[in-house]
C-alpha cells in the first residue's frame, strides 16, 4: 500500500487525492498480510445485519448501568503475598535497557490502578440502532485500517477503547455515524502513539467518502472531549506482552495469544470487563492450546495479580467465543486472515480446544467477576 508511511517526508498535496486513491488501491505489496476485500463496504455490511432483538438481559450485571462514580470497586482486602518470591523478572532483565526494568513493575501497577477510569458500562441499550454485531463489524473494519496503514497494534486497541467510551457516554448514535466515530478514533489513537499517523484524506477515502474533512475534524474534537482528553487507557495488549515476557514464552505462543486477544476485541461483552483480566485469559488459553497440560502458575499470578480461579472461567468462555466467532461470524474475517499468515505463525489455523459451553448456541453469558 502506498500510504504516507511509505512516503516519508513527502507532503501529498490535496489536489493529488485522485492519484493517491489509485496508489492506495493499486500498489499493494503482495507479500503483505493485508486486507483482502473491499474496504468501503462496511455500511452495506452493517445494514445487511438485522438488529439483534434478543439482547441478553443479564449481560454482565446491573451495576454496569450505573454511572461510574456510583460503582464500588471490587477491591481485595487481604494484603498481597508474593506467590513467587524467588523470581524477579525485572531484576533478571536489568542488563537490558529496553526492558526499563527499574520502572516496569511500577508502570504495570499504575496501568492497573487506572483501569477503573476507563471502565465502560452496558451501553448498547442506549443505542437503538446498534447491536453487538454492528460493533463487531466496526472493530473488524478497524483491524483492516490498522493493517492498511501499518499501524501499531496499540493504536488498534486504543481506537476500539475510544469507540467504546464514546458509545458509553453518548446515546442514540446511528449506524450511519459510527464509521465516522471509528475513523476519528483511530485518527486520534494514531496521533497519540504513531510516528506517522494516517492522513485525514486517506482515512476519509478508506471510509468510502461517507463524510468530509469538516465532519471528521468535528468528530475528532467531540471524541477528544468525550474521553476527557486522556488517551492513556491501559491496553490488554500491553498486559499480554508482559505475561509472555515474564513467563519466557516463545513468539508463536505470544502470537497465538494475540490472535485470541484481538478476536476478543470483536466481542461487546469483553469491552465491559478489565483489560488485564482478558489479557490473562487470552494468554492462558493460548498456552493451553499449545500444551493442554499448561496451568496458571505462581509467576503469572505474581505479575498479573490474578489467581487461577479469577482467570479460568474466562478462559473457558473465551474458548467458547472463539468457536462461535470462527463458526458463525465467518464473514468477519480480517483478524483470522491476518493471523493465518506465516508472519503470524499461522496462529488462526491452530485447532481450538473442545467447546465446554457448547450448549449455548450463540455467545454464553459472561462468568461473574470483579473489576479489574
Amino acid at each position: 500500500m502506498m500510504l504516507r508511511s511509505k512516503l516519508k517526508n513527502v507532503q501529498v498535496p490535496v489536489d493529488n487525492r485522485q492519484k493517491r486513491k489509485q496508489e492506495l488501491t493499486l500498489n499493494k505489496n503482495p507479500n503483505e498480510p493485508a486486507a483482502k476485500k473491499s474496504i468501503c463496504d462496511i455500511s452495506t455490511g452493517i445494514k445487511a445485519f438485522a438488529i439483534d432483538s434478543t439482547k441478553r438481559a443479564n449481560r454482565v450485571n446491573d451495576e454496569n448501568l450505573k454511572p461510574e462514580n456510583e460503582l464500588q470497586e471490587g477491591t481485595k482486602s487481604e494484603a498481597f503475598i508474593d506467590p513467587c518470591p524467588n523470581y524477579d523478572y525485572d531484576r533478571d532483565e536489568a542488563h537490558n535497557p529496553d526492558s526499563v526494568s527499574d520502572y516496569a513493575s511500577d508502570i504495570f501497577k499504575y496501568y492497573k490502578s487506572r483501569e477503573k477510569n476507563f471502565r465502560v458500562g452496558d451501553y448498547l441499550p442506549k443505542h437503538s440502532d446498534l447491536d453487538m454485531k454492528t460493533r463487531a463489524i466496526l472493530v473488524d473494519w478497524l483491524v483492516e485500517l490498522q493493517e492498511s496503514f501499518e499501524l501499531n497494534h496499540e493504536t488498534l486497541y486504543n481506537a476500539v477503547k475510544i469507540v467504546d467510551i464514546y458509545l458509553w457516554k453518548s446515546k442514540n448514535v446511528s449506524k450511519d455515524k459510527i464509521q465516522m466515530v471509528a475513523s476519528a478514533a483511530i485518527f486520534i489513537a494514531a496521533k497519540y502513539d504513531e510516528r506517522s499517523p494516517p492522513l485525514a484524506d486517506d482515512l476519509i477515502y478508506l471510509a468510502g467518502d461517507r463524510f468530509d474533512r469538516d465532519l471528521l475534524m468535528a468528530m475528532e474534537r467531540e471524541l477528544f472531549a468525550t474521553i476527557d482528553f486522556d488517551l492513556g487507557s491501559p491496553l490488554s495488549y500491553r498486559y499480554l506482552r508482559r505475561l509472555a515476557r515474564v513467563s519466557h514464552s516463545d513468539m508463536s505462543s505470544l502470537t497465538l495469544a494475540r490472535y485470541l486477544l484481538e478476536t476478543s476485541l470483536l466481542i461487546y461483552d469483553y469491552s465491559l470487563i478489565s483489560a488485564s483480566r482478558i489479557a490473562c485469559a487470552a494468554f492462558l488459553l493460548a498456552m493451553k492450546m499449545k500444551d493442554k497440560e499448561y496451568e496458571w502458575n505462581p509467576i503469572l499470578m505474581k505479575y498479573s495479580g490474578y489467581t487461577a480461579d479469577d482467570v479460568l472461567p474466562l478462559v473457558e468462555h473465551l474458548n467458547h467465543t472463539m468457536h462461535i466467532v470462527t463458526g458463525k461470524w465467518k464473514q468477519l474475517a480480517n483478524i483470522r486472515e491476518k493471523y493465518s499468515h506465516e508472519v503470524f505463525f499461522k496462529s488462526a489455523l491452530i485447532p481450538l480446544l473442545p467447546d465446554t459451553l457448547a450448549e449455548h448456541k450463540m455467545f454464553a453469558p459472561l462468568p461473574q467477576m470483579s473489576f479489574p
Binding site: D98, V100, D102, I107, R221, F224, F229, D230
Partner: protein, 292 residues
Amino acid sequence: MLKYDKMEKIGEGTYGTVFKARNKDSGEIVALKRVRLDDDDEGVPSSALREVCILRELKHRNVVRLYDVVHSENKLTLVFEYCDQDLKKFFDSLNGYMDPQTARSLMLQLLRGLSFCHAHHVLHRDLKPQNLLINTNGTLKLADFGLARAFGVPVRCFSAEVVTLWYRPPDVLFGAKLYNVSIDMWSAGCIFAEISNAGRPLFPGADVDDQLKRIFKQLGTPTEESWPSITQLPDYKPYPTYHPSLTWSQIVPNLNSKGRDLMQKLLVCNPSGRIDAEAALAHAYFSDTTDL
C-alpha cells in the same frame, strides 16, 4: 476564552504561543498556551494532543499542572498553572553565582519530577532550562511536554529527532531510535552542570558533529569496550580518541565531590550505563546536608 483576560505574551512553546492571563471569576493568574488549527491541516497536532493527554495523567508537585483544555473549531487552548519564570531567566538574575543549597534543591526537584514521569510511562524528551519553570517559592516544575510521549514495556523505536541539541545524548546524536528513560537522564546531567555554573551551558554545540566532539573531549571518546554496540547506531561515525583535558572540579568548581560523582553517573555516553532518576534521588549528594 471569555473566562480569561489575556495579559501579555510570555513565550513560544514547541508549538503554540503562551500568554499570561487572569481568570475573570477567581482573579487567578494562569498561562494560556494557544494552538491555531487551520482548515487544511490534520486537526489537533499530535504534539498538542500528546501534551494534553500526558499532563492529564501527570499530577505532581514538580510537573506543571494543566487545569483545563478548551477546544474549538479553530483553536486549542491549554490552561496551565502560572509560574513566574523559567530556569533560564532565573540564571540571568544570578550574576554568575549559584548558591550550592539552591543548586541542590533545583536538582532534587528536577529528578523528583522526572522520576514521577518515568514511573508513569512518560519520556519528556526535551529537558532544558527553558522548559523548567520556577515559581516564587522556588518550586521547580517540568513543563512543555510537546515532545513527550508515553512508552510501553519493553520500549520500541521512536523518533531520533528529539531533544534540543545541547541536551541531546550521544546515542540519539548517533541516530538511535531505541531509547528509554536514559534519554532524559543525559539532559538532566547537562542541566545539573549548567545549574552549578549559574547558567553556563555544558556542551553548547553548533551542530551534531560539534556537539559530539564537545562531549567526547570532556568525557573521552567511547570505544566498543565502553559502549559495545556503538558502531551499530544508524548515524555512527568514528571520532578521534580524545582524552579529557579538564577535570570535573575545573568544569564545575562550585559543586562538591558527591555532586560531581552524581554528575558523572548521569553523563555516561553509553545509555545503559546512565543512572536512572530513582537511583539518582538516592545518591549521597542529596542525603548529606552538611557537606556543601
